[in-house]
Symmetry: C2
Subunit: 313 residues, 2 copies
Amino acid sequence: MRFHSPAIQYFHAVRRTGSIRAAARLLNVASSAVSRQILKLEQEVGSPLFERNARGLTLTTVGEMLARHVMNVLQDLDRFRSDVASLSGTWHGTVSIACIESLTESVLPDLIASHRGRARRVSFTTEVKGSSDVLEALSRGEADIGIAMALRHPPDLRQVALKRFRLGAVVAGDHPLARGKTVTLTQCLAFPVIHALPELSIYHLLQPLIAQLSETPEPAIQANSIDLMRELAARGVGVAFQTQLGIGRLSRDSRLVFLPLDNAGSPVWSDLGIYVRAERTLPAYTESFLQELVRELGERERRENAAYPQVAR
Amino acid sequence: MRFHSPAIQYFHAVRRTGSIRAAARLLNVASSAVSRQILKLEQEVGSPLFERNARGLTLTTVGEMLARHVMNVLQDLDRFRSDVASLSGTWHGTVSIACIESLTESVLPDLIASHRGRARRVSFTTEVKGSSDVLEALSRGEADIGIAMALRHPPDLRQVALKRFRLGAVVAGDHPLARGKTVTLTQCLAFPVIHALPELSIYHLLQPLIAQLSETPEPAIQANSIDLMRELAARGVGVAFQTQLGIGRLSRDSRLVFLPLDNAGSPVWSDLGIYVRAERTLPAYTESFLQELVRELGERERRENAAYPQVAR
DNA sequence: TATAGCTGTTGCCGAAACGGCATCAACATG
DNA sequence: CATGTTGATGCCGTTTCGGCAACAGCTATA
């Protein structure tokens, strides 16, 4: 089912690989064929699409415009294919997800497992990145669904849902703080703290609050892995900060305790956004999974708010 | 700039004309070429796209799916072209509008004239239809912007804006009713009435109300042209019904008087919707005109509500 | 500084795709 | 039944495409 000019797919491959020869290898054709199609495209558009650097090709402004068009075409072709397939009863394809680390502990594995149980023919590709990288991957068409901290998102993305979860302190079960129900930042800073590095968005949530306190904190550990921070907290090394999303299983063992953070009487929220490319209609199987994802995150948000009642948003 | 497989454009032409030979004439190619491209497409999709009737071709279900994809591709190609053009300072293209008759008296001509004054290179195509035909033309990709009574719209359309205007009676300046400020349906039915035929949406707005009154109305005139109805009212033939949008110039001559309709103490609203295809990004020049259109209709809605104050929606 | 390895481009040539012409059978209309 | 129109097909010249090999330009390494 390849009724689009080869030039389209060649251009797409060159854009992704940044090189004509690499694209040719990817497409199993001669590099000369790819080169010629690109030259022909540039001639028809009337403007160069790539800047030829000595070490590969970079998109020009016009090239980026064409890339956007080509992405729209290829993604919509994908949707068309899935529509035709689902008409004849077949229901298969690959859902590609880019998300931040908080989801990997329980939300995503639970969802994917349950979805695969019902729709065996749907495959998944997931890539864990930082929040801004998630949005970028989405923009570049390298993922279908993105889950990231709800920062300002570029206009070519659409925020499908926005769920907020309470940021809290995570400590071992025998930690002194574990006796309380909630905890303030000042209380935490009395103990060794496991800080997030700036590449994690938790850093940007907490740093302004810590700066306000202007206390000299205890010598602390810094890390860029939520997983690592959690495991450190479980070993009693110190107090880590994150949402409850990431500590589902461990807290069930009561090795870890989650204590909602209290900042001058009000909770500290961590906003999670679900994103898709705006100029796009998702294939049916992707849309279906997206609905489940939104529902599940909404459910967790609801459950958590019930567990730690507080003034609502 | 034709970097899409000829099959795409041939298919599009065949879908629009409903005939291979007609499409061939339209494209200035031999009919055999068109026929073969369609056959090739069907072979690659793995399913027939058209039903061959003796007198032309009709889309199958799969064919309609492909039509949707092809429309997305071609419309997005248009947008890409306009993006490239606007990059080099050129700003031209054609805005295609489908709308109901109410707009033709002043809203649309005013807007188009003023827009053309500023952007000389933008052309316009406008087609006046019934409300449901407007939506259908939009769905089929025969227009970029649709203005129609806000009925339930198909999911492939997006309602950009919803403006409501008061339905009123339109009578000549020397009509007995013209002395009042507003008017009830019962008052109107005491005089000869110019009724809208069912093909006009005014019919569907008024019919339920008239049915409630269950009075035997005066022998009336029926028409399917808002223009004609207005001119009849201006000649004192009877009472016509429409929104104030359509009587701008004539009422300035005080040949016509607009009297907001009062139904059991509350106004009768006529909802006007502005629509575009959902799966689509508009070219810059079309988007620009769309913004002006929404702004202008919002302005008229505001002015009118100020002129005839009433409980807001 | 010479060499090896990479890049994109180009000339040449066979293969595949495309389009035009004439023709066919099927069907509708008069 | 005759006529006109429909889409499909065989034949053939033209165009396009892709593979091979060679080229110039550049970088990194020895």
